[in-house]
């Protein structure tokens, strides 16, 4: 099964990167993304871009955006381009197809994040040369590593579910956009939380062990993704997909 998963994932990865593709994406848009997040924003933020804990959060959340841009295409796109039925008629198991696609989306988010992280590092070191070599502190590096995987996985599993249910790529992309807006709702609601409660929460966070908080978030994400993948496995049935 591992070989099958990798076969599907490598084809998906190749399609994602295909130049001038039907998704409206191209290598050019990838380059723009790398220039903005790897050069422009780091230059605006200066050396703090490498050292600040805020940066770790950026590296953690950005993969959600990268992955959501491509994941809608995974099943809805195959159905729209009439390639899904031929794939379902092969010897591949349902799980191999599902996990292959998930892996491709996850690998895309993870790889892109790390490419941009490296470009940012080069940008900062070139712009501020003479101050010694600047490098990400270990907690930021570890946080980025773990969260870029988990958040890519979260985006991929939500995207797969959406893509399985959507009738077209456009519909899947619209559903993903709505989903992304919903993710920001809690942040928008902060202004409505009573100030006293916010201060209490802030104090509680300050007094907490950041490692414990990080572990809690990791566990939450792992559980959430496991549930989403389990639902996707139940939904991914050949006979249903053929008739959709």
């Amino acid at each position: 099964m591992i070989a099958d998963v990798f076969a599907v994932a490598s084809k998906e990865f190749r399609e994602i990167l295909a130049f001038g593709d039907a998704r409206g994406r191209s290598k050019l848009s990838l380059i723009v993304l790398i220039v903005i997040f790897g050069i422009v924003i780091p230059l605006q933020n200066g050396r703090e871009w490498v050292r600040s804990p805020i940066t770790a959060m950026v590296w953690g959340w950005m993969p959600f955006l990268w992955v959501s841009g491509v994941v809608a295409d995974l099943f809805a796109g195959e159905r729209e381009r009439h390639t899904l039925e031929s794939l379902l008629a092969t010897r591949l198991s349902d799980q191999s197809i599902l996990f292959g696609k998930l892996l491709a989306a996850l690998a895309y988010g993870f790889t892109l994040t790390w490419i941009i992280m490296i470009v940012s590092l080069v940008t900062i070191n070139v712009a501020y040369r003479g101050n010694g070599f600047l490098f990400y502190p270990l907690p930021i590096l570890l946080g980025a590593l773990i969260f870029s995987i988990l958040i890519s996985g979260l985006s991929a599993s939500i995207g797969v579910l959406v893509s399985l249910r959507a009738g077209s790529v456009r519909q899947a992309q619209q559903m993903m956009s709505v989903g992304m807006l919903l993710l920001f709702v809690p942040f928008m609601l902060i202004q409505f939380i009573p100030r006293t409660l916010l201060i209490t929460l802030g104090n509680a966070l300050q007094n907490s062990d950041p490692v414990q908080i990080a572990i809690g978030v990791v566990v939450f994400l792992v559980v959430l993704e496991s549930i989403l993948i389990a639902i996707a496995r139940r939904l991914f049935q050949r006979s249903k997909l053929i008739l959709d």
Partner: protein, 310 residues
């Protein structure tokens, strides 16, 4: 052992019986034509045989495996070109074939060799690195046929492979298909409503309409079973009386007049000279006489018409 054997295979969608008690045998090594008008149940049958859909009743064995309980085994040993070619248009021809080679666990060397082996006779090998998005439909269909053969399957399903192609591209694809098939020695289950195509390619055919099997056998058997051999006569002096006299001849099954031409269906084509003699005796001035067996299209139309008539 047959390549395909179905027994009372039935599948409904709501009130519609897409496949209705289909019992069929496809011997190994044959090119089997599954003929029927649009919506007759051909594609559903292929989906049932590949285990992509479950039957409501009945069962099917493909290469000795039950399509419901051993669908993975069936799909491992079969290749399929379905209603749509299913190629990835952003990828090159080689990448498309390579992907399917990987799916069937062919080694890199095997995949490379196989790509050359399959694309060379189709004149596509030199263009293997091109993304296929801009290729013609005929070229894509050829590539899709090659893809079905990539893993050397024992049986391939081809669902209307020449649909939407112009006559030249259809003929080229048919030739290429026969070249590849004779080289590979596979059993083919081919659905089509192009009867000339079935006549050229298939040594066994079955006719299906509204999910029901109407006839099954070699094209020659079907022709014999459903219609009489036919004699065409062109001339002057073919009066209603002449036609009436012909109808009375025990050798004649049916007489029709079409565009001034007489179409005489006979019980025995070897005795056609008796008809010519009869016409000459009643002073018909014959310009041209030729005998032709009815083609598969006539058989098909007659079967479908009979079935509609109930």
């Amino acid at each position: 052992m047959n390549a395909i054997q179905t027994n009372q295979l039935t599948r409904s969608f709501g009130d519609l019986k897409a496949v209705d008690r289909l019992t069929l045998e496809v011997p190994r090594g044959t090119v089997f034509g599954f003929l029927g008008p649009n919506g007759s149940g051909k594609t559903t049958t292929i989906r049932l045989l590949l285990g992509l859909l479950d039957a409501d009743q009945g069962e099917a064995q493909v290469l000795g495996f039950n399509t419901k309980t051993q669908a993975d085994e069936v799909r491992t040993r079969c290749g399929a070109l379905l209603e749509h070619h299913g190629l990835y248009e952003r990828l090159s021809a080689a990448e498309n074939l390579d992907y399917y080679g990987r799916i069937w666990h062919l080694s890199k060397a095997e995949r490379e060799g196989r790509i050359r082996e399959l694309l060379d006779p189709l004149d596509l090998y030199k263009r293997r690195e091109e993304p296929i998005g801009r290729w013609s439909r005929g070229m894509k269909q050829k590539l899709a046929v090659a893809r079905t053969l990539m893993h050397r399957p024992e049986l391939i399903f081809l669902d209307e492979p020449t649909a939407g192609l112009d006559p030249v591209a259809s003929a080229a694809l048919r030739d290429d298909l026969m070249t590849l098939v004779s080289k590979e020695g596979v059993t083919i289950f081919l659905t089509t409503h192009n009867l000339a195509e079935a006549e050229k390619l298939c040594n066994q055919v079955a006719v299906i309409n509204r999910g029901q099997l109407l006839a099954n056998g070699s094209p020659a058997e079907l022709r014999r079973r459903t219609s009489a051999p036919r004699l065409y006569v062109t001339g002057q002096g073919i009066t209603p009386q002449v036609i009436e006299d012909l109808q009375r001849n025990t050798l004649v099954k049916r007489v029709q007049q079409q565009n001034g031409r007489l179409l005489v269906d006979l019980n025995d084509l070897t005795r056609s000279h008796e008809i010519v003699t009869q016409l000459v005796k009643v002073n018909v001035l014959i310009d041209e006489v030729y005998k032709e067996k009815v083609d598969l299209e006539d058989v098909f139309l007659q079967l479908v018409e009979e079935e509609r008539g109930g």
